[in-house]
């Protein structure tokens, strides 16, 4: 076989290997990326559920412990949380941004919840400390009769 023919064959084989590698890597990357995107969405959802349930459960527990009772919870606010508010003292609402839009995740409390007076307007109290991701210390305290105050430290 001529020298040039051998060279051409090895070049062709090299190109075939590169093409095959790309043909495997590109779809695999896309599929794994899609899976991980969906999984991260589910993880965020689960984290917010845990966060909300933790706050509401602690508020209910502290309320029934009586006036002056308090607890401090270390809670993780996941990525995607835009804001947190208490409506009517009954609903703890997290506004969550995801790739399918902004959803509201709502938790209902059987006890009256409130926040610091400066953050309350009419029947809505905002929780600015819980409106950004990260590890937060949340103080849940019965300051006045009939309501539980929720604040971040």
């Amino acid at each position: 076989m001529a020298k040039s023919q051998v060279k051409a064959q090895s070049s062709f084989e090299y190109m075939l290997i590169v093409a095959l590698t790309f043909a495997i890597i590109i779809p695999a990357t896309y599929l794994f990326y899609s899976y991980s995107k969906d999984s991260s969405q589910e993880i965020t959802d689960a984290q917010i559920t845990k966060l909300g349930r933790n706050i509401v459960d602690s508020a209910e527990k502290i309320y029934y412990s009586g006036l002056g009772s308090k607890t401090i919870a270390d809670l993780n606010v996941p990525d995607g949380v835009i804001s947190a508010v208490i409506i009517d003292g009954k609903e703890l609402v997290f506004n969550v941004s995801s790739n399918i839009g902004i959803s509201e995740v709502v938790f209902f409390s059987s006890v009256n919840m409130t926040a610091s007076p400066q953050y309350c307007t009419a029947n809505v109290c905002s929780l600015p400390g819980l409106s950004s991701p990260g590890l937060k210390k949340v103080k849940i305290e019965v300051l006045v009769k009939d309501s539980v105050n929720i604040d971040t430290l």
Binding site: I26, P27, Y30, L31, S34, Y35, D38, Q41, E42, D45, A46, T49, I87, D88, K90, E91, V93, V96, S98, I100, G101, I102, S103, E104, V105, V106, F108, N123
Partner: protein, 155 residues
């Protein structure tokens, strides 16, 4: 003269090769070879508080079964479906408002669906938006949730 001719012929050979490769890739792309999303599993994603239990995409109809995990009775005020197509999918939404008790499952059906690439055998990505309020909250504030259905229209 001979050298420049050889160079020109070399370049034109490469240009032809590029043209052939580009046309081949274009044809493959057009036929959907590079649409890897069809290899992903069919999925229905809603927030955990309205967990998606099942769904089906049949010609003209989108069905989704959700469960109210809020722990509260609610009233659904509005529900709609759309997608990212240039001309988005148009469906007849279920009649609202309707009541939904806590822990109850609900079959939500969108009928007369057309447009937005909603064709039998095609893979579609749909977004469902729902607005509701809790029956027992005094001021009845409205809340919005978004869900996603990704699957193949069959039947």
């Amino acid at each position: 003269m001979k050298k420049s001719q050889a160079a020109l012929e070399f370049l034109s050979t490469y240009a032809w090769a590029f043209v052939v490769i580009a046309i081949t890739l274009g044809a493959l792309y057009y036929s959907g070879i590079f649409d890897f999303s069809k290899y992903l599993p069919q999925k229905c994603t809603f927030p955990l508080q309205f967990k998606c239990l099942d769904f089906s995409l049949s010609p003209g109809t989108v069905r989704v079964k959700l469960i109210n995990n809020l722990g509260e009775d609610i009233k659904v005020n509005q529900i709609s479906i759309t997608n990212d197509a240039t001309v988005a999918i148009a469906c007849t939404s279920p009649i609202t408002p309707f009541d939904w008790a806590h822990s109850a499952e609900k079959d939500i059906e969108f009928t007369s669906c057309s447009g937005g690439g909603y064709i039998s055998g095609e893979r579609v990505d749909l977004r469902v938006q729902m607005a509701y309020h809790a029956v027992n909250t005094p001021s009845k504030p409205s809340h919005t949730i978004n869900g996603r259905i990704n699957g193949k229209v069959t039947g």
